[in-house]
């Protein structure tokens, strides 16, 4: 019964998606389209629910449960085993994709762009929802249901992060589908104004936050489960997640620049559309069985259809980019119109656009009106405060920040390209030459580390350049440079305190990374002080300020992550040994004593653990129990579970690789991994910063905020009427209403003035 229900739900979802795609494409009204979209999401949700139900009730008649369920598996891991194999993963994938589509469909209207984007999204939904029952149906009925199943892959049932890491990663991948669809829509339409750019920015940021969280949690999972002590191995699955992360980061920055320009340029469009096909490519590579990886737990027949969807997406996207990107460039460049007599930036008839954003002379970017709604400083007069930066004429020499951001985008694209190249290279050689070649950490580290260091420099310097200045003011860089140099000098000559246990023979790289980390942190602190100081204590309330502070937090998080990565990869030291009970193993200030070996038998698992007493500087510091577990039903090799003692500066990481129950000996490996806690914390800082910067969509505005905004609007309107600039802009009130867009306009007073001059 569940088999039938689940399959029906999947087909209903697919049918709903197809209808919705046609409806959004213009064959039916908005109501029908939204209803069909909701039906598609409902179908996917129902399939998900039925599969979970079958798993939790252990209904082995359902094929997926027979292959991945087990009576001895605890309920939590039974729940998470839905995404431990490819069929269930695809159901989750479809659910998240339809969910994103539904949110986009219900959201604010963005004119013709949204209709096209929704049609694209729903076509994708239809493809995936049809792919599940056709190529990888989890609901296929088993003729003779077994009495018990093997349970999920043993590696996927030993760590609580299994519950959130894969869904977050999927959310990250699939939220990228929305900017992809909007980018396709912009290419089809040949123009895109600020509301579209904002929507793309919002979704890319949301995807970025989810992707970051997913990647960091995945690294944590791999640290806590795989047991070799590392967290990142440039494995194909890891690469598949980091490539879209790089392009999403690049896309966020280029969209921010385009937001200031008020229109979507060809490069920004290309970057925004690249993320989702790359995520698809990664999924195909790893889930379709094309490359082997420690994380790809499945081999199945979805490879060819996935490749089909991927190829179609790639052809369509590349074709559109080649064919239409030039149009976007012209639309962005020509002030006032694209030949059809309508202003380009906002006049897509979307209900937001008013002519003001496009007043002749302002190419959708800086307008005089835009200034007036600033914070009272950004007027023509107010800006000439004599601090040598914000004057009208003196500073319009170039856009130094824009150039640096562009260089950063180029670096990020190069990083994405490098990782993709390294991942695909073995496949290409295999196909062309038949030879087995591997591309591993030595290649990736050698190429990406210099790029990453350059990126650190850029992300420290770029935010410090005032908009529309050509060069960074050297004086403002003095403090960050001093901080970086002092860090390098202190660590280089003074030793590394708790970190460098085994002398300084590690080469200059970690020192440079630490110095750059301090440089970025100091520069970011300067920037935060500046932004917060400019806007007073109530600053974080305003969307634009919140976004800037969030961005600074993300930059600080990246710097911390760089420090943590450099420290943990350079200063790890480990000891291995075969111990008899009572023997000790020494590593970096710790003494470990093997007390004995414990054996345990659970419902479906056998495990042996080594009981290890830890002494730190001679004092007892607790007991650790690294273990090996064997699940006979799964037929997989036994999995080790490391025991980790987390400290603020360094982790003690103990694994056991062999246990001889006869004489009680065990082979232990004890490692001191420095700065791991900092790495996880930096991930949290990045995600929280991104969430803080995330603008709240208008649809979710509460009555209270609406009221507050109305009052503010009235106040500002009154104020704006008095400002001289408004009179120049001409249209007064409507412009101000436009700028009240809670998406966070981010048009800084000074920036606007500069834009105006151009």
């Amino acid at each position: 019964m569940k088999c039938l229900l689940g399959t029906l739900a999947l087909w209903a979802g697919a049918a709903g998606s197809a209808v919705a795609a046609l409806a959004w494409a213009g064959l039916a009204g908005r109501r029908t389209a939204v209803a069909a979209t909701a039906a598609a999401a409902g179908g996917a949700a129902a399939a998900f629910a039925v599969l979970e139900w079958a798993l939790l009730t252990r209904d082995f008649q359902v094929g997926f449960v027979a292959r991945n369920g087990g009576r001895g598996v605890p309920p939590y891991y039974t729940f998470t085993s839905l995404w431990s194999a490819v069929e269930g993963s695809l159901v989750l994938w479809a659910l998240v994709l339809t969910g994103c589509a539904l949110v986009t469909g219900l959201g604010r209207d963005e004119g013709p762009h949204r209709r096209i984007a929704m049609a694209v999204l729903m076509t994708l939904c239809a493809c995936f929802l049809a792919l599940v029952p056709l190529a990888a149906n989890p609901f296929r009925e088993v003729a003779v249901p077994p009495a018990d199943g093997p349970g999920p892959n043993p590696l996927l049932r030993g760590h609580p992060l299994m519950g959130i890491h894969p869904p977050l990663l999927y959310l990250g991948y699939l939220a990228l589908a929305v900017p992809f669809a909007l980018g396709v829509a912009s290419l089809v339409a040949g123009h895109a104004g600020r509301p579209v750019v904002r929507a793309m920015r919002r979704w890319t940021l949301a995807a970025w936050a989810a992707l970051t969280a997913g990647i960091v949690l995945g690294a944590w999972w791999s640290y806590g489960v795989l047991g070799w002590g590392g967290y990142w191995e440039w494995d194909p699955v890891e690469n598949a997640s980091i490539v879209p992360w790089f392009t999403a980061t690049a896309s966020l920055h280029s969209l921010a620049v385009r937001d200031r320009h008020g229109s979507l340029g060809p490069w920004a469009a290309a970057l925004a559309t690249a993320g989702f096909p790359l995520a698809l490519l990664g999924t195909f590579l790893t889930r379709g069985g094309a490359v082997a990886s420690v994380h790809s737990f499945t081999r199945s027949a979805v490879g060819p259809p996935l490749l089909g969807i991927l190829t179609a997406t790639l052809i369509a996207t590349c074709g559109l980019l080649v064919w239409r990107a030039g149009r976007l460039r012209r639309a962005g460049e020509v002030p006032g119109g694209n030949g059809r007599g309508t202003p380009v930036g906002n006049a897509s008839g979307d209900g937001h656009g008013t002519p003001v954003g496009n007043t002749p002379g302002g190419n959708g970017r800086g307008t005089l009106v835009g200034d007036a709604r600033g914070d009272g400083r950004g007027t023509l007069v107010g800006d000439a405060r004599g601090d040598g930066r914000g004057t009208l004429v003196g500073d319009a020499r170039g856009d130094g920040r824009g150039t640096l951001v562009g260089a950063g985008v180029a670096l990020l694209v190069t990083l994405a390209f490098t990782v993709l190249l390294g991942t695909l290279y073995p496949l290409v050689v295999k196909v062309l030459d038949g030879a087995d070649v591997s591309v591993g950490p030595p290649y990736f580290n050698r190429v990406t580390v210099p790029l990453a260091l350059a990126l650190l420099v850029l992300m420290a310097v770029a935010p410090l350049i005032p908009p529309n200045r050509a060069r960074p003011p050297l004086r403002r860089l003095a403090w960050p440079v001093a901080a970086g140099a002092a860090t390098v000098a202190a660590l280089g000559f003074g030793g590394l305190g708790g970190l460098g246990g085994s002398g300084g023979g590690h080469g200059p790289l970690p020192l440079v990374a630490f110095g750059l980390g301090a440089f970025v942190l100091a520069a970011t602190a300067l920037r935060v002080r500046e932004v917060a100081g400019r806007h007073g204590p109530a600053a974080p309330v305003r969307a634009s300020v919140r976004r800037r502070l969030g961005g600074s937090a993300v930059h600080a998080g990246v710097a911390l992550a760089a420090v943590a990565v450099a420290g943990s990869s350079a200063y790890t030291h480990d000891t291995r040994g075969r111990l008899e009970p009572g023997d000790v193993l020494r590593t970096g200030g710790y003494v470990l004593r093997l007390d004995g070996v414990e054996r345990r038998r659970d419902a479906d698992a056998m495990s042996v653990a080594a009981r290890v007493s830890v002494f730190e500087d001679g004092r007892p510091a607790g007991t650790l129990r690294p273990s090996i577990t064997f699940y006979p039903a799964s037929g997989a090799p036994p999995v080790g579970a490391p025991a980790v003692r987390t400290g603020p500066l360094a982790d003690l990481y103990v694994t056991v690789s062999e246990v001889d129950p006869a004489d009680g000996t065990a082979v232990l490996r004890a490692a001191v991994n420095p700065l791991m806690a900092l790495l996880w914390a930096s991930g949290a800082v990045m995600v929280l910063g991104a969430l803080a910067a995330l603008p709240r969509p208008a649809a979710r505005r509460s009555r209270w905020t609406r009221w507050a905004q109305r009052t503010r609007r009235t106040r500002r309107t009154r104020w704006a009427r008095q400002a001289p600039s408004v009179r120049t802009g001409g249209t007064g009130t409507p412009a101000v209403t436009v700028r009240e867009d809670p998406g966070g306009s981010g048009v800084d007073g000074r920036e606007t003035v500069g834009g105006q001059v151009r």
């Binding site: 990886s293 490749l307 020509v334 180029a410 002092a486």
Partner: protein, 313 residues
């Protein structure tokens, strides 16, 4: 005055930092670290995605010991890598060399970065002049005829769909092998008649010939389980394990067969090949025994002599 002091302080700090970096770059790493550095560039042959530096497996341990021995004898990392490449093939290298066909791998990122930077510089140059881009608008805004755009869109859509379908159908034959028959053969369920060892060996050979070494190993293992005294099954399993890059596992499989038939050159050859990586001294002994018992003209004799020469060198 204060400002000058600050500038001087900054200069001193930066100079100190440069000195610290220079000092760190000059210090000589210890032997253990150098072993790890070399091992980090080599794959652990019997695990997935790990380097020989990180893997806890026995084989990786043997590799580290070998690297240490050779470093202590004064060999440079490059020649040590070559030694392992001769033994396992190019696959043992975790990253391809910068020369030859793989040079593109190293050069392309630089090309992309250069192109990206050039684009940024061009954009910055183009954006600097403040002139309203009126001159460029000529022709830009002339909308192409609606029908032509529609036609192009339809062509693109058709091309995308056709490409997708073509990719899906082309990928099917050799994309993912249907694992069903193999699995049923490798792990016969209770109730089904057990497969005969001979048919299993035949299946394993077929899989082996198709390059499905992993599945061949499974099938051979099943055959060894069914008839543990069959030395052909053991020999085939051992060879498949060596081909799969797991020679350490092959040794315990082959040793019983070599004990039972100590003069079978084929068994000795397989065992020697497995041992030479996992346990080199024993491997040398076994391979010498192989040379003693192999009939003249055995195709492997020359290769074994070469390996032994290299080993003793």
């Amino acid at each position: 005055m204060r400002r000058r002091l600050a500038v001087a302080g900054l200069i001193v700090l930066v100079a100190l930092a440069c000195a610290a970096v220079w000092r760190a770059g000059r210090s000589e790493p210890a032997l253990g670290e150098r072993v790890m550095e070399v091992a980090a560039t080599l794959r652990c042959p019997d695990c997935q995605g790990l380097s020989a530096a990180e893997s806890p497996s026995k084989l990786a341990g043997a590799m580290r010991a070998e690297i240490g021995r050779r470093l202590a004898r004064g060999r440079d990392p490059e020649s040590i890598r070559e030694y392992f490449v001769r033994r396992y093939g190019e696959r043992i290298l975790l990253s391809p060399p910068m020369s030859g066909a793989s040079a593109a791998l190293w050069a392309l990122p630089v090309v992309v970065l250069a192109a990206g930077c050039a684009a940024v510089v061009r954009t910055a140059r183009r954006e600097r002049p403040v002139t309203p881009a009126a001159g460029r608008s000529s022709g830009a805004g002339v909308p192409s005829p609606r029908s032509r755009a529609g036609l192009a869109g339809a062509v693109l859509l058709t091309a995308a769909c056709a490409g997708g379908v073509a990719a899906a159908t082309l990928a099917r034959p050799d994309g993912v092998p249907a694992p069903a028959p193999v699995v049923s053969a490798a792990a016969p369920r209770a109730g089904e008649p057990p497969e005969s060892p001979d048919s299993l060996l035949a299946l394993g050979r077929r899989l082996d010939a198709r390059g499905e070494t992993g599945q061949a190993v499974q099938v051979y293992r099943e055959a060894v389980r069914l008839s543990p005294r069959d030395r052909t099954a053991r020999r085939l399993l051992g060879l498949a394990l060596i081909r799969a890059g797991r020679p350490a596992e092959a040794v315990p499989v082959l040793r019983p067969a070599a004990r039972r038939s100590p003069r079978d050159p084929d068994v000795l050859l397989a065992l020697g090949a497995a041992e030479i990586t996992a346990d080199p001294p024993a491997g040398r002994r076994t391979l010498r025994r192989f040379l003693r018992f192999a009939r003249p003209g055995h195709p492997a004799i020359a290769a074994v002599r070469r390996v032994l020469r290299e080993e003793t060198a």
